[in-house]
Symmetry: C2
């Protein structure tokens, strides 16, 4: 079987985006890494953005999968939310692509990158929102606006993991769980 050129291109682009970010990745660079002509890329993807979208959509799917896998039906809602959010943010730190993307978003505000970050954050929000809806249905927590509660939880998580350590000692996983428990769950659980 002949090499799958499309696959080669996607892999090359992933490498380059991970290493240099969106803006600093050139289509010529991608073509060279993939060992194809630049024109070939454009037989599969209309624009650089479209190639980028395909890759970041895979990333989001992967992230959702990781989050879903961290859920353990036999455990409590609180435990699961903590595990899922921790897993998602861990994922962000484990993958070169997310690290580079968030860095580029922070430092250069590249529009295409900002859009992707928004999509990632929406995906996380919807994931948690669904878990909250389910927990309300199952009467595990008090009724609340799932969107708003998911929003608050995520903001708190990001604050505890990323913002807190700008001026303090990083919090351990256990301390984050305890803080979340103390500040949110005790106010929600029956």
């Amino acid at each position: 079987m002949a090499v799958d050129r499309r696959q080669l291109i996607v892999e090359a682009a992933t490498k380059s985006f991970s290493l240099f970010g969106f803006k600093a990745t050139t289509m010529e660079q991608v073509a060279k890494i993939a060992n194809v002509g630049k024109g070939t890329i454009y037989t599969f993807f209309k624009t650089k953005e479209e190639l980028f979208d395909e890759i970041t959509n895979s990333l989001i799917k992967e992230m959702k999968l990781a989050a879903e896998e961290s859920i353990d039906e036999s455990k409590s809602f609180q435990d699961n939310v903590h595990r899922a959010l921790y897993r998602i943010l861990e994922f962000r730190l484990e993958h070169q692509l997310t690290i580079k993307l968030f860095q580029e978003g922070r430092e250069m505000r590249t529009p295409a990158v900002m859009e992707v970050i928004e999509r990632i954050e929406k995906a996380i929000l919807n994931f948690i929102k669904d878990k909250i809806k389910l927990a309300i249905e199952k009467d595990e927590i008090q009724p609340c606006d799932p969107e708003l509660t998911a929003f608050v939880m995520i903001k708190m998580y990001i604050a505890l993991i990323f913002d807190w350590e700008k001026n303090h000692q990083p919090l351990t996983k256990e301390m984050i769980a305890k803080t979340l428990e103390q500040h949110i769950f005790q106010g929600l659980s029956k």
Copy 2:
């Protein structure tokens, strides 16, 4: 009595910083508005930063005063925290100087401005932290790490007021209070 040149300079600089921000304010501009020679400014302030610091320190003092005034000893801790934080963020939206400063910080990341923003945020944190310490002493809330709890409260407040409305209808003052109540206080109060 002769005019107080120092006062004139401070007033002129405040106007200019409020209107144009730190970077776009020139010392010549300030001198012209204050009707003094440029050299005169340097008899009172060693550098542009020092002039800036004097003005932003007053701003922070004013902010603290506004927050302190919003406290009503006869009301509950929860009510007071809500009132204080709301007042502080309201203050930010009422004062041209804070608006301009936070905008310049976001858009240009001027180092001197970033420092001031950090000082402002530290001041808010310490204010809330003290109120939490007091509430713990008075046995109004469960024991907790005052620094961490203040941090969480502020992050949540800023998220609810500034971040939420990027993608949703703004929350009313009452809805913010309710969300804070539901997500934080019910977990802390005895």
